[in-house]
Amino acid sequence: MTEQKVDLTNCDREPIHIPGLIQPHGVLLVLEASTLKIIQVSNNTGEWLGRSPEDLLGQLLSMLLDEKQMIAIEQCLAGEFESLNPLDLCIRRGSEWICFDGIVHFHDGVVLIELEPQTADDRKNFFGFYQQVRGTITKIQKAPTLREMSQVVVEEVRKLTGFSRVMVYQFDADGAGSVIAEATDHETPYLDLRYPATDIPKQARQLYTLNWLRIIPTSDYQPITLTPPLNPLTGQPLDLSLSVLRSVSPLHLEYLQNMGVAASMSISLIQDQKLWGLIACHHDSPRYVPYSIRTACEFIGQVMSVELANKIANEDLDYKMALKSLQTSFVESLSRSEHLIDGLMQLEGKLLDLVSATGAVIWMGGTPSGELQSNRCHCIGTTPPQSTLPALIAWLKPHLHLNLFHTQSLSALHPRWESDKAIASGLLALEISKVHETYILWFRPEVLQTVSWGGNPNKPVEVQGDGTLYLTPRQSFERWQETVSGCSLPWKPCELEVVAELRSLIVGIILRQADELASMNIELQRSNEELDSFAYIASHDLKEPLRGIHNYANFLMEDYGETLNEDGVGKLQTLVRLTQRMEDLINSLLHFSRLGRAELMRQRVNLNDLVYQVVATLTMARPQNAIEFRIPRALPKVECDKAQINELFTNLISNAIKYNDKPEKWVEIGYVGDIQENAQEEPLHPTVFYVRDNGIGIPKEYIEQIFQIFKRLHGRDEFGGGTGAGLTIARKIVERHGGTIWVESAPNVGSTFYFTLQAEAIA
């Protein structure tokens, strides 16, 4: 057992609860539970009890102890030995009596009695310690913060024990620890130093939760073996999990020696049955602390453990109060600003403070109509280069859970971000809107850059004669350094909470703004409807007097044509022509207003068939014009109002034919991108159709005008005439279908009219 070599490669598996060894400052007796017969002892009984192991083995315990003491032990075994320990046990050694603190445990089928020799002043000081502890407990309870409580504890424990350095050591979620309080007379403070998780192996943590107190009076002690080496009842090594004398891992002793620690004591701090931290005591020369004082220290540790929840809650309370006030200013700023990004941008520093980040990115992707719109992003603090962000966002999307994603180590998740680990090891991402691709990202740097670490990175590696690396804290640190490279400090649960809350705040604001917009839209729709019906009634009623004028002008020509001169007849003819033109305009207006109100009859329409029909009808009407029609690939089937879409294509294609002065005219009808015809879900982006020509084009300054009703860019009789309502009607049809229409054009080159027939899906 003792021969097995333990090094850093296997220290996580070292069976430290069954070392088969004890520390030399006491004696271990192992008894068969039913008979209290001695079956195993430590090999230092001669030194402390004056009897060799061989003398003791197989004897009854009563050989060593008197009747009164035996009764005490039996009581102890029958009940709460913790409250009875230590027992005052005096054993005759030759002519003198030697008094011990006897610590009795029943574990794994055997009774363990550990005897630690009493020093002269132990007992009499006990009540003094009690008074001191009572004062300490009051101070612990009164301390307003975790840090202040920890400070009280380290000072009191130092006073009680006389250790030269007492620290409170707190573990983070990953097991790395940091010193949060320290009482020492040493020149070099350890306060705020961090230690890698590997400094305390897993199974040691387990034992820390079983035993609240652990003492090593001398770090360079010679361990004492047991006789026989194995538990004779089980044939296995003796389980020393609960033993106070249990020998320490050689690795740990080496660690202590490398730190210049000659004696140490640690008291566990437990919260929710988990090791939260330690009260760690160091001394630079050997130091023994009697059991009674240890009990007092353990009690302090237990009280502190109980108080932890309170103090942490208070700590969180302070943090949360700070976050709440930050949130308040967020809401104020965001609700004042018209656009989310403006509001967020004004918050710059606060956005970083919110989660203690060093960099943040506000990312606003495309808007529903704007696949073609470029992404907007705003960087605050230290962030990865903008060029890498689109890839990061794309990678991030499937990793979000409940709109959130966080990691301490981005580079571990994807090697692509290895190069940015110094500034962006930690990533916390919040999705505001999937459809609008709105995200807020927070970054934290690699932790090596930010925190001071325990251990001495500059201490050279010691190489032994046989070439193996000699175990030193330095090596331990290096190994650890490899494992935490590319890691940031972890994101705290309350930070994640505040970010999740931030999202609901932002969404709330967005929704409110959307509500306002919606009510404005309803108002607008109502006035549009009123306008539509006004146009309808007006145009209808206008027609009657118009027809009257028309008819009367004709009556005049019929009845008095003979008596009028040529000029008079010409003027009447002009009057008639004007009424005809006016009727055209009124009809267009009527048609337009009806489009606005007629119900859409959506059905599945094969656009390919429809467009071929439109082209056939148009070419039939203008047989003299040779036009090449191009349909590069079959158009898809679409849910739409067939009659209206027919009119839409008719308008766009006939415009394309009309406004063309090239000798070889062509019109191309197609669509952009891929079609997911049989997709289960409605596609996010609607199909973009286009009608392209090589016609006269539209000068840039008129592009906005072409969709306005009765706006014409050409003389009434140029390019075949028309009322100028065609494109207005086209736009109305597209809008009625929930889509948008826009145009790209270059004079003398041609125009392309793009349109969609459905709204962007909004998730």
Binding site: E544, R547, H550
Partner: protein, 153 residues
């Protein structure tokens, strides 16, 4: 098969616009086959005429029309209402009704045929077209089509 009894055809025009009425009158008079006609300026008057109430109590003043030319938007009782009332009256419903209106609203067209209108014509603004429409209308209803016997007096 008995041949239909020859009767004096007559026309009731429900039209509020004097100008439109004048145009109608002009073309009717010039028609190769002049048809006697009566005019009501609104729906209320038209119904009074048909039901012979008020000023129209005398059958001589209000003879049964062979055809009704109905404007859809006269003041007071609406043309649609007049149409509906006539087509719901067992005695009157056989009188063919030609809706003659400015409205080319599909809804109006739909509703008029639903109610039982026999023809729906959008008044053309073009002078020649208007003339042609009226002449063809008269020719169709009074020369080509066979009308039912007049409603009982």
């Amino acid at each position: 098969m008995t041949s239909p009894v020859l009767q004096t055809p007559s026309l009731l025009i429900v039209e509020d616009s004097n100008e439109d009425f004048e145009a109608l009158q002009r073309f009717l008079r010039r028609s190769p086959m002049p048809i006697p006609f009566q005019r009501c300026v609104n729906g209320e008057q038209a119904l009074a005429f048909l039901y012979r109430t008020g000023n129209y109590a005398d059958p001589q003043v209000a003879p049964r029309p062979s055809l009704i030319l109905l404007d859809l938007n006269p003041p007071r009782t609406d043309g649609r209402e007049v149409l509906r009332r006539i087509k719901q009256d067992d005695n009157l419903k056989k009188i063919p009704i030609v809706v003659f209106t400015t409205s080319n609203n599909p809804k109006d067209i739909e509703i008029c045929y639903q109610y039982g209108a026999n023809t729906y014509i959008v008044k053309p603004i073009d002078f020649e077209l208007l003339k042609q429409s009226i002449q063809q209308l008269m020719q169709y209803w009074f020369q080509i089509a066979t009308l039912p016997e007049k409603a009982e007096d």
